[in-house]
Symmetry: C2
Subunit: 437 residues, 2 copies
């Protein structure tokens, strides 16, 4: 897959602000932008950072190529000095943030982008697009993983969301705890294991279900997964074992009352000697449906719509805000905190922030501590942000498995109530060590 | 922007079905797959077809390039004969469907893909991804356009959704009635007018709001839009008119009680002589918030999150089902209807369908009529499907404005209750002229 420039995943106001700031002379003021959310989706107990690795790629590929400059020139979107400036654009600043897979809470400084105003302001949209989308999917995936309690989860939602959003969703689902995906592009691009065998169309294509099963087993082997709910499940299971033998890999049930069906099919498979044949269920599952099947003889879940749409919360509501900037135009001007102050309820806290996760005497997390001043000694080894990019170069690339493992560890360090699916408050309070600016 | 192959926006089971069908000899049976939804999102009164133009692009770019074939080979996803078949893949079949912008209802055969089973089965995921995503956004856009009652709507949701999903969302929003977008890639790729001037960061970058406004006006002209809610709205409006003069283009309010603020700001602008300065509002708007501002002196709405996430319904739940296939392997075998028949509640109706929109004596639509048999004479000139692709070549490309105009016409031909934002039943019943197969 080619990696086209990401420079136009940008809202026009970022370029017009750049133009005006280049002209007023403020464009080069050192600035810190922070990404955070004011609240979690209603009832959610924690958020999951996902997309960080994609952010690093996007920033490195943020270049104004000739065709893009032509578009901006012909559309009269920015003036000639701005176009000249953009032609040489490369992000040369620093990015630090929560590592991928980490959990977050309202006010957590998930990402901080530092450099000149000009180079940082341009990244707002693409950074937020990635983090908002991917974190929303990862949060849903994490809840489903809690509900599945160790049984494998397969991501199957590509058909329910934008075709490239689907690939990012597979990646985020993997971070959140899924083990495989149906969509081949996610295997190609990210190395996520891909799965899939057949749909109802394959059965309907053949003159009988037996012919379809025979064709599938002859081609894919007895270890394949046969879809048993095209006509009559009981009959299909009988034929499946006849055709594949007791070594049948699995059957998939994609409709009906999955709880009842799973018990019946398990009993029937056992009676037919196919004791090792697994049962896969896939039918509009969400974390609640998965939890309700905990006691059923289900071996794996395939999840689509509710996963890729964030199980009711398709975006993470993160924002990208200027929190500090140089006090003047001298090269050594100190950074001063800045924040919107209108009475509209969208308050922000100025100043570049650190964050640490405080723990109780048992090592269980008990607060998300956020501050702009000195870090208290007892939190010095509990800091959450890591260096992600230095001087425009990514310094924290890692395999996706590392993010996946980190998420499990972070979730397990939370209070037990993090695993409740019911609506509630964030499991950790966010504590600010400084008065709001 | 490059157009990479779309061939991996595919669920693995499409390839394994292909492999098994190539081996069983059924792969070449002529087949018809239909795209439809079993229900509209809860409470919605109509759906909006969007993405059709993107589907044509995706099908034409669906090619298994060497790097893709290597991936499939190395992953052992399909066997050698299947790889050989894929290497030459081009879709050579026919596609017909509802033209883009048309409205649809439960059971409407929105798209029909006809060709060999092998060439059609591969398109399931990419076709559904596009139609499900784009139609969900267009439906939300259409409701917002009804609520805005002619005032311009600006799409500003890129930061809330996947970066490429955002570009498709801008396109779908335009089809649904939006007039512009903030995201530059949508201007570049689809020619949608782009808008945007400044964010709070620009004000905070400067040493005072006055300096920020002055910088913006000097660079972008007095006709620009000044953001007035960083500190104190009343003070900001006063400074804005002082700096830009009475020819100030517009002010934007992004927080607070927009109804109250719009009235106050209008009065203040008028008092200051800036009678032509427009008021733009942007703050977590949805169709209900837009409707609630109908009587407020607002000139344009900027909408983000709720638009790109389908205002509560981020996917359109369309499915892609085999509805007819050749009765045997002879080249002239007739098509026979096929349908899933299990008791799980996911019933489909077999057979390739036509659809027509019946009207009452006043020319107002009163039913979506769907059938597989002969078209009744009185519906012959009310048929909804058009030819979109013939022999693998797109035959119905059109400017995006055509889809946008078509949507307005289609919506206006619906019963008046289509414009109610409250939850209700689809405004048209779907009537089947044949008994379900």
């Amino acid at each position: 897959m080619t990696v086209p420039s990401t420079a136009l995943f940008t809202d026009q106001y970022e370029l017009t602000m750049l133009q005006a700031a280049l002209r007023s002379g403020t464009a080069h003021r050192r600035s810190v932008f922070e990404v955070f959310t004011r609240r979690l989706p209603e009832g959610r107990r924690y958020g999951v950072v996902a997309g960080t690795g994609r952010v690093l790629d996007a920033v490195e590929n943020f270049r104004f190529e000739p065709a893009i400059l032509d578009f901006l020139r012909e559309g009269g979107i920015v003036d000639a000095p701005t176009l000249d400036w953009l032609a040489d654009y490369r992000f040369t600043g620093d990015i630090r943030g929560y590592p991928e897979g980490e959990v977050y809470f309202p006010g957590s400084p998930v990402l901080a982008v530092e450099g000149s105003f000009a180079e940082c302001v341009l990244l707002e949209t693409v950074v937020l697009s990635i983090l908002n989308h991917d974190s929303a999917v990862a949060a849903a995936a994490s809840r489903m993983a809690v509900a599945a309690a160790g049984r494998p989860l397969m991501e199957m939602g590509a058909r329910r969301t934008h075709e490239l959003g689907a690939v990012a969703a597979s990646r985020a689902a993997f971070v959140g705890g899924f083990s495989s995906t149906s969509v081949l592009a996610a295997g190609f691009r990210y190395g996520i294991p891909t799965v899939g065998t057949s749909a109802h169309a394959f059965t309907l294509l053949h003159d009988s279900e037996r012919e379809a099963f025979t064709a599938q087993v002859e081609s894919l082997g007895a270890g394949t997964t046969l879809l048993v709910d095209t006509y009559d499940v009981e009959e299909a299971v009988r034929v499946a074992v006849e055709v594949a033998g007791p070594g049948l890999g699995a059957v998939r049930i994609d409709s009906g009352d999955l709880l009842v069906a799973a018990h019946r099919v398990r009993g029937q498979l056992d009676d037919l000697g196919a004791r090792d044949a697994r049962i896969v269920v896939t039918s509009d599952l969400d974390e609640y449906a998965i939890a309700s099947l905990a006691a059923a003889p289900v071996d794996a879940y395939g999840v689509g719509t509710q996963l890729v749409t964030g199980s009711g919360h398709p975006t993470a509501s993160m924002v990208y805000k200027l929190v500090a900037r140089a006090a003047g135009d001298e090269p050594d001007a100190p950074l001063i905190p800045v924040a919107k102050r209108s009475t509209g309820g969208k308050l922000s806290i100025g100043g570049a922030k650190w964050a640490a996760r405080a723990v109780d005497a048992h090592g269980v997390a008990d607060a998300e501590v956020v501050g702009t001043g000195p870090v208290p000694d007892e939190l010095a080894d509990r800091l959450l942000q890591v260096e992600l990019m230095r001087g425009g170069k990514a310094v924290a690339r890692e395999p996706l498995e590392a993010a996946r493992d980190r998420h499990v560890a972070a979730r397990e360090a939370l209070p037990l109530s993090a695993s409740q699916l019911s609506k509630g408050e964030p499991v950790l309070p966010t504590r600010y060590t400084d008065a709001p600016a």
